[in-house]
Symmetry: C2
Subunit: 220 residues, 2 copies
């Protein structure tokens, strides 16, 4: 599972602005970052009249756009996918996932508090609170309070805790697993054994060569 942290805060507190700065800072340090924006009220991404919009309106459940250098997917889901599922399906090849929103999820959180919006913490008692980014000085011994504009300071904190100079390759030999729609966490020993057993089976199959990155999907 890719390390995941959340930027949370009240509406208008500056979550997106802080996220932008952290993404830019970590990217400049050589990390690959993926983000998840949580839109509790839904979102619009495709615009009336565009071909992809027309595909969707006609009834397509999933529409993919593909061009040089970029692809996009727009997909109907019956129930909202939790970030863990989104991470597994779409963000496995990044070093770090940063979510905007998901204050109720159990990821390490950075709460943004801006005086102009509110002076109170939303996640003050949340055991996952990793840091506070604010233009107010909060006196907390357990949680660091960083200046709201100090993206470097926050990036240092994230790097130390979650990245440890161990980009994607650091997760080698591990199997990520979803069974009947649910993510399964296995003990490292079991996980390693499963990964090796599957690699072993594939090695003997025509066309698989020396299998390193493997994706398997089984239905039914």
């Amino acid at each position: 599972m890719t390390p995941t942290i959340s930027i949370v805060g009240r509406s208008g507190s500056g979550k997106t602005t802080l996220l932008e700065k952290i993404v830019a800072e970590l990217t400049s340090r050589g990390y690959t970052i993926g983000t998840i924006k949580h839109d509790v009220h839904g979102f619009e991404i495709d615009y009336e009249g565009k071909d992809s919009w027309r595909h969707k309106r006609a009834g397509a459940k999933i529409v993919v756009l593909s061009g040089p250098g970029k692809l996009a997917v727009i997909k109907d889901v019956d129930e909202e996918w939790p970030p863990s599922r989104l991470g597994f399906s779409f963000l496995d090849e990044v070093d770090l996932i940063i979510t905007e929103g998901y204050k109720k999820a159990g990821y390490p959180k950075i709460e943004v508090v801006r005086k102009a919006t509110s002076t109170k913490l939303m996640c003050g008692k949340d055991k996952h609170l990793l840091a506070i980014a604010s233009d107010i000085k909060f006196k907390r011994r357990d949680v660091p309070c960083v200046d709201i504009n100090d993206a470097k300071g926050i990036a240092n904190l994230i790097e130390k805790r979650f990245l440890q100079k161990q980009p994607v390759s650091g997760r080698s030999g591990k199997a990520d697993l979803i069974v009947n729609g649910k993510q399964i966490t296995l003990k490292p020993f079991i996980n390693g054994m499963l990964a090796e057993a599957i690699k072993g089976m594939l090695k003997s199959l025509k066309g698989c060569g020396s299998p390193k990155d493997i994706e398997i999907r089984i239905r039914g």
Copy 2:
């Protein structure tokens, strides 16, 4: 692998219009359709100033938007993904994939020809040409020529050839496989054995219950 067909034709011939009608018709018959729009010149989907646009601009390699009922993914890729890869990663849960474009790919094709744009076939010699949809009467014995507005007729043809009342469940027990970025096609017997071996291993693991739909990703 999900059955895939392509709607091809010159620019302005009415590919999107025909695709819309076919998607609507097949959806009304109870099938779940996914589409791929090929934009050879690139596409814009996200608009300046939106949060997801800001995430992307800051340097995020992959941006996911998630809300009730819908999700979207915008992803940088080094090389353009072929439809088979897109199908595997994003469209495995539909009954049929219809692509708009990809005239050079080896999928069964329906070519749209509209008098006002051109009177000549682009894929006349393509062995994958499944049908011609046109307002011209082409005299071909090998390939049916259907009226450009006859979505029902084309849907009948697609249903008979590719859907055979066998929605997604018809693919049960098969494993789809990508190794080192390439899709691997296995013989049915080998495929079934691999699927059963993996299910067998998982059955004994805590939390996996009775594994039906399985996704596994291994790195390194």
